[in-house]
């Protein structure tokens, strides 16, 4: 298949979708960090998120997947303006988050919530879980005061917290129960978008399944959009129809999850997918693994050109080209909803 390099579809834009809930364009996040190089201390800028663009439709889930340090969590936080982006726009419901003043931002935040990997860190140890959920309603002044405890009970019920646990403190709950509380609190404000950052990574398999099923129920019943951040491809397959694969601050590939998993196009995605273990010995024996050499380079020593070229196992097949080292590939649309940032995706496909 020949690709049209002039394709102008924004990466991540979905075909035939209504107005997206979230529209991210050319998002950059930079951190200023002390440099270890040289005699005198000085600050250098590290670009953790590099020119990211994607949309999330109403009721849709997009997964950001990648390995540690790829910038997926930073992206999630930048979208909620918890980390200020250094450039680019984040449109929530058509309005630019960065331009909002304090009060408007607060109102908007009620509609964008976050679930964390470790809800223990985000729940106050001195607050019962009932009051933790109630606080979200009080802060955003949602509903009549008198009716709020009933709302809290309904929320906890929805998330599967038994009545006898509701007056307990976070340390008295198991990890899975705490995550249910974290979800109940995120739901309290009636959000349109939830950024879920590795919500099941700290949980055991049997408990993880409970939480994933809860998230799937919320997707079906509440039309909430999710940005689901995870390092685990199998989990992503389970909760997200669409996926964006990140490497070193850039999105290298986007598409429908089952397509990206069955036919990855970017050499990094190919390696990542091949490294995922399948819980089936017969499948495992058949699978060919692409073992990458080395590790993800430091953001402080970002490779020139394609961020992946220093580890790219397929580059050997294009021996004459220096393009990978010289020119940063832009996301190109291969088919509707499917983009890849690789100069040679079609030769390698």
């Amino acid at each position: 298949m020949r690709l049209d390099p002039r394709s102008i579809d924004p990466p991540g834009a979905r075909p035939n979708a209504g107005d997206p809930v979230l529209s991210v364009r050319h998002l950059n996040v930079e951190f200023s960090v002390p440099s270890r190089r040289g005699l005198l201390p000085r600050k250098v800028n590290v670009r953790a998120v590099n020119d990211l663009s994607f949309d999330i439709g109403r009721g849709e889930t997009l997964a950001l997947v990648g390995e540690s340090g790829c910038g997926k969590s930073t992206t999630g936080r930048a979208i909620l303006n918890l980390i200020p982006p250094s450039s680019g726009t984040v449109l929530f419901d058509g309005r630019n988050i960065a331009g909002l003043e304090e009060r408007a931002l607060r109102r908007t935040r009620a509609r964008m919530q976050m679930i964390f990997q470790d809800p223990y860190g985000s729940l106050s140890p001195r607050q019962t879980i009932r009051s933790a959920v109630r606080e979200a309603l009080d802060v955003h002044d949602i509903g009549e005061r008198a009716g709020r405890s009933a709302v809290v009970d309904t929320l906890l019920e929805t998330c599967g917290i038994r009545p006898d646990l509701r007056d307990r403190y976070p340390h008295e709950l198991s990890g899975g129960q705490r995550q249910r509380v974290g979800i109940a609190r995120a739901l309290a404000t009636g959000p349109d978008l939830i950024v879920a950052d590795e919500p099941t990574s700290a949980l055991d398999v049997s408990i993880q399944a409970q939480i994933l099923n809860l998230i799937r129920r919320l997707q079906r019943e509440r039309q909430i959009s999710f940005l689901f951040i995870s390092h685990n491809m199998a989990v992503v397959r389970n909760v997200s129809a669409r996926v964006a694969v990140m490497y070193l601050g850039s999105i290298v590939e986007t598409g429908l999850t089952h397509e990206v998993l069955s036919l990855p196009l970017h050499p990094y995605t190919k390696a990542l997918v091949s490294a995922v273990r399948v819980p089936d010995p017969a499948v495992e024996r058949r699978r060919e693994r692409i073992v990458l050499s080395g590790e993800q380079p430091s953001l402080m020593e970002l490779p020139s050109g394609c961020p992946f070229h220093s580890r790219c196992w397929l580059r050997k097949q294009i021996p004459t080209s220096n393009r990978c080292a010289d020119e940063r590939p832009v996301p190109r649309t291969i088919s509707p909803g499917r983009t890849v940032s690789c100069h040679f995706a079609e030769e390698l496909g």
Binding site: S174, A209, N238, T257, P279
Partner: protein, 358 residues
Amino acid sequence: MTLLEVEDLTVRIDTEFGTVHAVNGISLSVERGETLAIVGESGCGKSITGLSLARLLPEPAARIAGGTIRFEGIDLVTASPRTLADLRGRDVAMIFQDPMSTLNPVLTIGEQMAEALLRGNYGVSIRPVRDRLLELLDMVGLPGGEAMLRRYPHQLSGGMRQRVMIAMALAQKPRLLIADEPTTGLDVTVEAQILDLVGRLTEESETAVILITHDLGVVAGVSRRVAVMYCGTVIETAPTDTLFDAPMHPYTVGLLHATPSIDADADEDLLAIEGVPPNQLRPPAGCPFAPRCAWRQERCWVEVPQPRAVGEQHQVACHNTATREEAQQGRPARLAPAPPPPNLFGIGEVVTFRGVST
């Protein structure tokens, strides 16, 4: 030939809240050069089992309360500290999940590797040792040669630190390597590198491996046999293919159905195992999995099931095992509701019923 034979191993841990029944009479065996996986969720006793096998439990708080561990005929439970010191590092080596906490932060990689290599035999000349260290670095794929030997653990990434641990563990070509979650916390691409490395090196040196993990995907790709642990007991042991193909214990069935896979159909919900594992300070009277089990019967509440052979190398500790069809469906064929616990309230703690058969 059997390398390691564990029989009826029981481990108790004293805590300020009471005694934790960490391991309750498990039996395992490992053949020469074989890879056995021990799989289970947090708190099931798999790591405590691993530590017991190397006699590395933090004694006296944690103690082996019964059973035998025979390693090439020597009972490690009763062996002298001297014998154990000789075995550890030479015949039995161990690697852990977090190499940062097992490596010494103030010593260089080279110093620590030399320590593992010399094992107290100091006063040797430096050149052959250095050559051997460089060889070891090469073996585990760590670049940089002598410069690498001068680096400190914090200067390495998680994957590189694990390579250092592997080099130290395999320096003496041990007969048994106990690997406790060696790739947990590492990225998948690095995990692939590390498992690849461990597999290749242990095959070359014919080292048997006990791989302790929570990840069924890792089990499927790496081991020949599997033991599944729940609440301090081994509830099912089988060749890997059999376990994935025709699991019989309801917990194994549940675990397989709860594990998301990139191969699975995403249209359907996962079959979660409801509830949480029991408190091991006060283990339940009957089968530890009964409170969460859809296959349970009346007797499961009161009678601890003992492991029994159900096929070649296949043992299950369950009163009412899943059929092949049920295992595929992930739920029992009979639609009768699982019986509730017998009314024990008012007649003392459940724990007093432990061991009583009816």
